[in-house]
């Protein structure tokens, strides 16, 4: 059976979907309305907001079961509102490589997930960075602990001390040891998730090289 798809007409020049790209009918219809004007545009925005609110509620329910109904709904609604602005602002970036709904959902899920993580840490200080991993794993191994594992952790702790910059060490310990969510750390350090992950990635790469050289 032929897939139920249509071709984006050339008149849709305000989106980045290449002419000839095959979109599913729902994406086609919604994209046309969102790149249009008047009543059809307003109706499309309202429909898009409904989709984003559903996605945001989906995420809040999955990640924050302890939140009360009104509080959870406030976070979901704020996430959907922010996601709607992001989707409309970035509509030109939609390339038609997925369904439009999937593309839009990711904005709502992202906004909701970030808000949930930050909400959970709103009254918490960041854990104090331990001197080294050795401080967490020092001393005599318990009866259930593997001596080789203890030595491996000690080697990694030594590598952290030797090759990482203070910033790399702070980020690595916060994210990998202390379990601080990356979006919370990004907010506290006035940076972005992407920049922090780059720091984490570089720190991990330096550790791997150091461990290979010392093994």
């Amino acid at each position: 059976m032929t897939p139920a798809t249509t071709t984006v007409p050339g008149v849709m020049r305000t989106s980045s979907v290449a002419p000839g790209t095959r979109l599913d009918p729902e994406s086609q219809e919604l994209l046309q309305a969102l790149t249009g004007s008047g009543r059809a545009y307003d109706d499309a925005c309202a429909r898009l907001h409904e989709l984003l609110l559903r996605a945001a509620r989906f995420e809040v329910t999955r990640r924050a079961r302890s939140l009360k109904g009104a509080e959870a709904d406030a976070i979901a609604t704020e996430a959907a509102d922010d996601a709607l602005l992001a989707v409309l602002r970035r509509l030109d970036d939609f390339r038609g490589l997925s369904k439009l709904t999937t593309w839009a959902y990711k904005f709502a899920l992202y906004e909701a997930a970030v808000k949930v993580r930050r909400h959970a840490w709103r009254d918490r200080e960041l854990p104090v960075e331990p001197d080294t991993l050795a401080s967490l794993h020092g001393g005599v191994p318990g009866p259930e602990e593997d001596v080789e594992m203890r030595e491996r952790l000690g080697t990694i702790a030594a590598a952290i001390d030797e090759v990482l910059t203070p910033h790399q060490r702070r980020v690595l310990v916060a994210l990998a040891v202390n379990g601080v969510p990356i979006d919370v750390l990004a907010e506290r350090l006035s940076t972005t998730r992407g920049a922090l992950y780059k720091t984490l990635h570089d720190a991990r790469a330096k550790l791997r090289v150091q461990l290979e050289e010392t093994s």
């Binding site: 490589l97 952290i160 969510p181």
Partner: protein, 78 residues
């Protein structure tokens, strides 16, 4: 205890293979998930994204949610 230590080592050293970053992951996530939901080889289409999900808990959670949401839209498999 050993599992916990292995998980800690995994978080400290991250994925072994090449990976994309968080920004690229966000840009490609919808395409990746639609391919997964369609039973296609998403990893071949977007190299490095799977490794990133192993190394980044935040992106991993959002990937899990997007895939679950898309599968919910698809309805039960016939």
């Amino acid at each position: 205890m050993e599992d916990r230590d292995n998980e800690l080592i995994g978080r400290l050293l991250g994925p072994a293979g090449p990976e994309i970053g968080c920004d690229a992951c966000f840009e490609e996530l919808d395409r990746y998930v639609d391919l997964e939901a369609a039973g296609k080889d998403a990893d071949a289409a977007v190299p490095g994204l799977r490794a990133h999900l192993e190394g980044c808990p935040a992106c991993r959670e959002e990937h899990e949610s997007l895939l679950a949401l898309v599968r919910e839209d698809q309805g039960p498999a016939s």
